[in-house]
Symmetry: C2
Subunit: 290 residues, 2 copies
Amino acid sequence: MPHLIAVDWGTSALRGARLDAAGLVLEEKSAPLGILNVPNGDFAGVFTSMFSDWMKPAGTVCLISGMAGSRQGWIEAPYVACPAGPDELRRRLHWIEPGRIALVPGLSDEQGDVPDVMRGEEVQIFGAMRLAGLAEGLFVLPGTHSKWATVRNGRVTGFRTCMTGEFYGLLSQHSILARTLEADAPLDEAAFLRGVTCAGNGEGLLHNAFGVRALALFGRLSPAESASYLSGLLIGEELHLQELPAGGKVIAIGAPALAARYALALGQRRVRVRTFGAEATWAGLSALQA
Amino acid sequence: MPHLIAVDWGTSALRGARLDAAGLVLEEKSAPLGILNVPNGDFAGVFTSMFSDWMKPAGTVCLISGMAGSRQGWIEAPYVACPAGPDELRRRLHWIEPGRIALVPGLSDEQGDVPDVMRGEEVQIFGAMRLAGLAEGLFVLPGTHSKWATVRNGRVTGFRTCMTGEFYGLLSQHSILARTLEADAPLDEAAFLRGVTCAGNGEGLLHNAFGVRALALFGRLSPAESASYLSGLLIGEELHLQELPAGGKVIAIGAPALAARYALALGQRRVRVRTFGAEATWAGLSALQA
């Protein structure tokens, strides 16, 4: 099998890895050249400056996942509808140079009359499946827009996006809660878990979020505790909406500190977490080549 | 009974009315001198410049409701715990000049281990009760921080705050949704009601809010429709959390355009709405004098 150049081209960052024939990572590089920071929209130029050396060996193939395949990216690679697995994505690769450079499409799902979308996370899921030796399970990819995906027989059967990270930023920095909240305070586990518990009270986020303000007014949450409590409220709300495998396991893919918060919250529900990081992306792109 | 000067001193505005002995409004005035805009924190000076003429007749009494009684206001008038009615508030008036000028305290409630607070809305509720001739019911005061209050035997037995208006501002102006949303578009009733319906799907606001983005990406909501749909999602979420009197009535107190949105959403749940505006504040302060 030819060498693979695996590229994750997201909104704010561009990362790449050079893999050997067995899929082992030989070298990695990254730059703050996410799709919103590509000078003059010259994606081909950025690609060449970053990866032309790696692309020199004959037969080298490059697969690119993430927002580079969106309408605001290099070229739009239309979404593939769920259920979809590596086979469906491989058939719908969008070749920029046939046989040499391709964009990986994202996935879409439909719930009621409302669509949902992901770009890049599907590759991480397939990578984590390969690394964990799993063909099914519940996957969470925490972040600005968290994704929860269900996998059956190696294919994503459906998923949901939650704006958890973005809500945290808006509420902690731009809302009335910001006045009594230290957004960057280190995690206070007790306050965080108190927020997770509160989220299960059935009163809803619109109301529970105001509780952060009221607790602070009454001196019952410090600014540092308020940040962890709000984080717990939001992650708890997100968990509350999932059908969790009681006594079972969730696969988390993302930054360790954030995945650790999900593990804490899920632990309260007796669900274990196994975590993967950047390696899931490279494994996923490698799985698409196979 | 002496003439009453009724004052609603909120965060951004200062409004007053001169009432006759029967409680009829003789004159009104207002200024953009909310508690955050009082020069040098000179509340007494602003009060004198606005109302000294009205206060001249011997025996005139002034009652002030709203944020002027908060910690950031003129003097803090501590919250009165629910259940509370006009009698409890009258006994806990905070006199600035004994027998002449008083601040009306706000109400507090406690749900689980989380407090809730209102300041000013309690007076509007007691006013609407008097105007409608009601001693019980479910009251909604829509706004930045909407309040839902239950009244039994003339007293507020409990209430909930929902950050509905603030969430609308954050999401429509500062989130990813802002890119495809015309925040000031006039109401599109069909899109609004579609949002209200969606809010009842059990998927939660963190997920449903992302649907606004996905629907726009797929060209299934225009920027103007997106604004109404998001408004419907938020108001629908708020309604979803209330125990609504099926086939019954809710009293809405607030700006007509906003109250009309609640009436539309509640109509979908077969709940009728009766609306009151600024007159509820004057009637409420008048009820406290009696």
